[in-house]
Every structure is written in C-alpha cells, then in structure tokens.
C-alpha cells in the first residue's frame, strides 16, 4: 500500500452512473404505483440496493480499493443483516 497508485475515475463514467441512478429512481417510482402486494416492498429494497451498489462501487471508489476493504464492507452488511434477521425472528413469531 506504500506510495499507492490511485485510479482516476473519468467524468464520463461518473455521469453514466448518475444517469443510471436517475433511471433507477424513475423505475422505483413507476413500480411503486403498481399494486403487487408484499412484492412492492421487496422491489423497492431491491432497486435501492442496486442504486447503493452503484454509489459504493463508483462514486465511493470501492471498485478500485483493495480486497481487504471490500471484505470489510461485506462483514458490516452481514452484521446488519443478522441484526435485522434476528429482530424479525422475534417480531414475526411472538
């Protein structure tokens, strides 16, 4: 990691990611107006996760970070998932 060589993300890539985020926002709004029952919330969360991945990998440069940092993020998200999962294990089966 000494004297690290850093990748510069081009303006073009950043603008394309931004456009993709705007399109996904439009899709979220569109999907939310269709009655799909419980699927609505999962669609909303799914699209929000894709948008987050775009922000994290490109805007936050995670794509060009070492594997160590990627694993670090994965562990943090797994912790959150366990936290949410255990809560529902309690809430749903009371």
């Amino acid at each position: 990691m000494d004297g690290e060589t850093r990748h510069i993300i081009s303006y073009r890539t950043l603008v394309i990611i931004w456009l993709a985020l705007l399109v996904l926002t439009a899709i979220t709004i569109g999907v939310s107006r269709i009655h799909l029952g419980p699927l609505n919330i999962w669609a909303a969360l799914g699209i929000a996760s894709i948008k987050s991945a775009l922000v994290i990998f490109f805007f936050m440069h995670l794509k060009h970070e070492p594997l160590f940092l990627k694993v670090f993020l994965l562990i943090a998200l797994l912790t959150l998932a366990i936290f949410i999962g255990l809560n529902f294990f309690d809430v749903l089966y009371r």
Binding site: T5, R6, L14, S32, A48, S52, L73
Partner: protein, 205 residues
Amino acid sequence: MITNSSHEHSGKDPFGARLGMWLFLFTEVILFGGLFVLYAAYLSRYPGEFAQAAHRLDMIMGGSNTIVLLTSSLFVALAVSALQRSEKTAATLFLLGTVISAMVFLGIKYLEWSAKIGHGIYPDSAILNEMARGEIIFFGLYFVTTGLHGLHVLIGMFIILVMLVRVRIGTVDADNFTQLEVSGLYWHLVDLIWIFIFPLYYLLL
C-alpha cells in the same frame, strides 16, 4: 493514474485514513439501521395504517430531493476526479455544486416539514394523537429518521464547504487530496441513506 508520495516519506497514510472513514460509516449504517429495523417491525404489524400515513407525504418533494442528492453525490465524485488531475477550478466549481445542492435539499425539507406542521402533524400534536396507532408510529419514525438524516446533510454541507475553501487556497491539492476523498465518502453515505428513505417512506402503497 497518479502516484501519491509514499507515506513513509510524508508521514501520511491515505489508505488508513480511508479505512478509518469507512469504519465510521459502518457505525452510521448501524445507527440508521436501527431506525429501519423499527420501521420494518412496525410495517409488518400495521401495513394498512403505514400505507395510509405514507399517502400524506409529498412524493414530488421527496422525489425532487432524491434527484438533488444524487446530483450532489455526482458533484463530489467529479470534484475528486478533477482534483486528482490538478484541475483546481473545476474541483472548486463541483464542490460549489454540492454545497448548493445541499442547500436546495434543506430548503425543500423545510417546506415539506412546514407543510406537515401547518397541517397539525408533528410529534405529540392533537391531530396526530387522534390518528390510528400505526399512523402515529409512522410519523414518529418519519420525523426522527428524516430529521437525523437532515442533520447529516447539514454537517456534510459544512464539511464540503471547508473542503471547497481548502481546495481554493491550495492546502488540499492533487498530491494531498485524502481529506477531500474521505469528506466525499461521508457525503455519499448521506446519499445512500436517502436512497432507502425515499421508497420506504414516500412511495409506500
């Protein structure tokens, strides 16, 4: 591609700085995660009342703020790329774009909360207390979550403003941009949280 001076010579550790910021961001994720867990648990208990309360939120304002925040994130990312290429003027202008976006976001948030409070909907108000239990919980979570998020926008805006000044006077430049980078990471987190708030609160059917 550019090469930073080795931290052995400069005494700096850019990767360590970024790692530290990511670690802090994880604690933020857990903080907001707690609020999202409460949201999810009560949504499963009061789905109808949550939907009814969500219909009272202004989707146009929420949607506009989504676009404003996504754009502000783009500006920060562009500013980092610009500074890495020593394009100081461009970096300054991009950061100015972020600060203006943050102000627009807070302005819209002000109008939105004013309208809610104008209609008598605020924590422990007489009108809210008359509503169903699920709606009271929804609005309680709405004010806490968007309030905490708004506070983050305010703090982030000042951090970006400081970065703007430092880029302008040259203390942050192409050879020393870690500060700007980690400030940007914080700003992107604010955007990430909103990416989840918007569909969960404003678009719920």
